[in-house]
């Protein structure tokens, strides 16, 4: 089950999941045509798999509950990947509170609601993996990107809490934190000359992390060290950095 299936990272994870085995997959997204395109592609790659498509308002708690219940009736998924989010323009969000609200809601609140809804079914069944796509940006707020960072940081605490809740059970919670990845969402960063990880490499690491059930995964792994340093920089020093 993939929420935010039209995200480039999620789509590449899906391609890897269907590569060697047939699966039954539910794809959730906002834009029906685009999800259909994703599903068609996956179906060509894996004719033996089945794909269901759901379009849902990702900010409506009732709709999210209904969706998770509907999916659970057909069988609680073994893996739930929650991948949606948007990379807002920090400056526009500072000027426009509607944009700010939307960014926080879509990238932070909505994934948390999906996680809560599916956590219920996974808990009942007693096993399964719930994976979030967080971000290195969630590790410490920075002036260039703190609205996105705050939303992703919310997922950090959420995943942490779920990991605590499910400790000792068969339910595993995985938080993946990609560094900047070469996707349409980061086209602006790329145009500014940022070096970005290849999306298929990132997907490969995510699929492996979900398989192993590792609690927190940085992709590429160099970001674990980089973010450790950034998190531990004393504020007087950190605040002078232009990042």
């Amino acid at each position: 089950m993939i929420v935010g299936a039209t995200s480039a990272i999620a789509e590449h994870c899906a391609r890897r999941w269907v590569q060697d085995v047939d699966v039954d997959m539910t794809l959730v997204g906002r834009d029906k045509t685009r999800i259909e395109h994703v599903a068609e592609d996956l179906h060509v790659r894996s004719p033996g798999s089945t794909f269901q498509i759901r379009t849902e308002d990702c900010l409506d708690p009732q709709a999210i509950r209904r969706l998770s219940d509907d999916v659970a009736v057909q069988g609680v998924p073994d893996v739930v990947l929650i991948a949606h989010g948007t990379l807002p323009d920090q400056e526009s969000c500072q000027k426009d509170l509607d944009a700010c609200w939307h960014a926080l809601a879509v990238t932070g609140l909505s994934p948390a609601l999906y996680a809560e809804a599916f956590a219920h079914h996974l808990a009942q069944r007693g096993h399964g993996t719930l994976a979030f796509i967080g971000s290195v940006a969630g590790d410490r707020g920075r002036k260039s990107n703190y609205i996105y960072g705050a939303a992703k940081g919310l997922l950090d605490r959420y995943a942490e809490g779920l990991q605590h809740r499910f400790a000792g059970t068969g339910v595993r919670v995985v938080l993946v934190k990609p560094g900047p990845t070469d996707t349409p969402m980061t086209a602006r960063l790329k145009a500014k000359g940022a070096s970005l990880a290849a999306v298929d490499d990132v997907a490969k690491r995510i699929v492996a992390a979900v398989e192993e059930g590792r609690p927190v995964v940085y992709v590429p792994s160099k970001w674990r060290l980089i973010m450790w340093i950034i998190r531990h920089l004393p504020a007087p020093l950190f605040n002078r950095l232009d990042i």
Binding site: H37, E40, D41, V44, P184, A187, K190, A191, K192
Partner: protein
Amino acid sequence: MVMVAVSSWGRLGRWDHEVTVLCDRGRVGEDIQRDRPGLAHGMGRSYGDVCLNPGGVLWKTTGLDRFISFDAVTGRLVCEAGVLLRDIQRLVVPRGWMLPVTPGTELVTVGGAIANDVHGKNHHAVGSFGHHVEWMRLVRTDGDMLDCGPALRRDWFAATVGGMGLTGVITEAAIRLRPVPGPWLETETIAYGDLGEFMALSHESAASWEHSVSWFDCLDRKGGRGLFMRGNFTASGGRAAGHARRWIVPFVPPLSLVNRATLRSFNETYYRLNGRRAVKKTMHYESFFYPLDRLLEWNRLYGPRGFFQYQTVVPPQDSLDAVRALLRAVADEGTGSFLAVLKTFGAMESVGLMSFPQPGVTLALDVPNEGERTVRLFDRLDAIVREAKGRLYPAKDARMPRSLFEQGYPKLDSFLQYRDPGISSGLSRRLMGH
């Protein structure tokens, strides 16, 4: 607006472009409506400026990388235009199918393969890429969307196959694949002494070998020598297929590393084969078709100044003399290529107005950029091509004179009527005026 420096495969320079990524085939019409001209750009594997639009917009098509449908019974594949030939091969080979035509690298997009009407080692048997396209969807910068194929808007199809991306943005295509018994080919390599022997081997192989190509040693002054390679698909397998190890050229060396040392593997094979005895080998299709794909970023070997590729086709009546004269010029000038690739094209007429393949012998030379000396060599080669009524391949070109282009492509005037006014490339401005 942020500009990014982009270069093409020849690495002759880097030019600023405004780059946007196309990733939703349903939205391309909106994405390409701009106040200034743009150009579709896939993997940037063409050598010169056919894939560049310096100072303008590039629409990167690599986000259009979805398959749409595949019929394992008929072998008909429909996909978005940014799908790589590699991804098609890996999808369909295990199901008993393969792309009917493939160039020397599989790291190109379907859109690029159509726009340059690429050919492969089996041109004499099956023609070029465009012969196997059933239909495609073209989106114009005024937002119009039109489907075309050999049986539907034939004129648009003829303009777009080999049309260098100038008639619109190709967003999806249907390709007829060919059945294969597996990923293996039985191959033979034969050493030959001069061009006459090459012609004889080509002739003799045309009917019974689907694939053939030849390497020729440009430095040999004793009339020449070469290796002729041919192959057919076979049901009998080699070792279990696994993707071969890949190497990368990690940085650009300060000087071109392409030099006499490059000929070493050629020499070894040549001397091993001495005596015109064919060496037979079963090869995986990736090693046979794409030997250079295993060396990622091999274009860096030519150093910071980059390199040209000079590829021409000369009509059959004079091809032997013309190729001989071209190779003599290369040897005389002492610059440029050490190894030439030779292949005889078949008689099948290309479907595109601007397609490169035509009957005759095609010769491709990789030439390091050495400034003035290189210009001199090309002037000499151009004169021979002009005289032989040959043409140069736009996908490889960064410098041909406009007069040679016009002489080589007599259907240029009809082609121009189909151009999209919102699309422009470095090559179109250089050779068509806008």
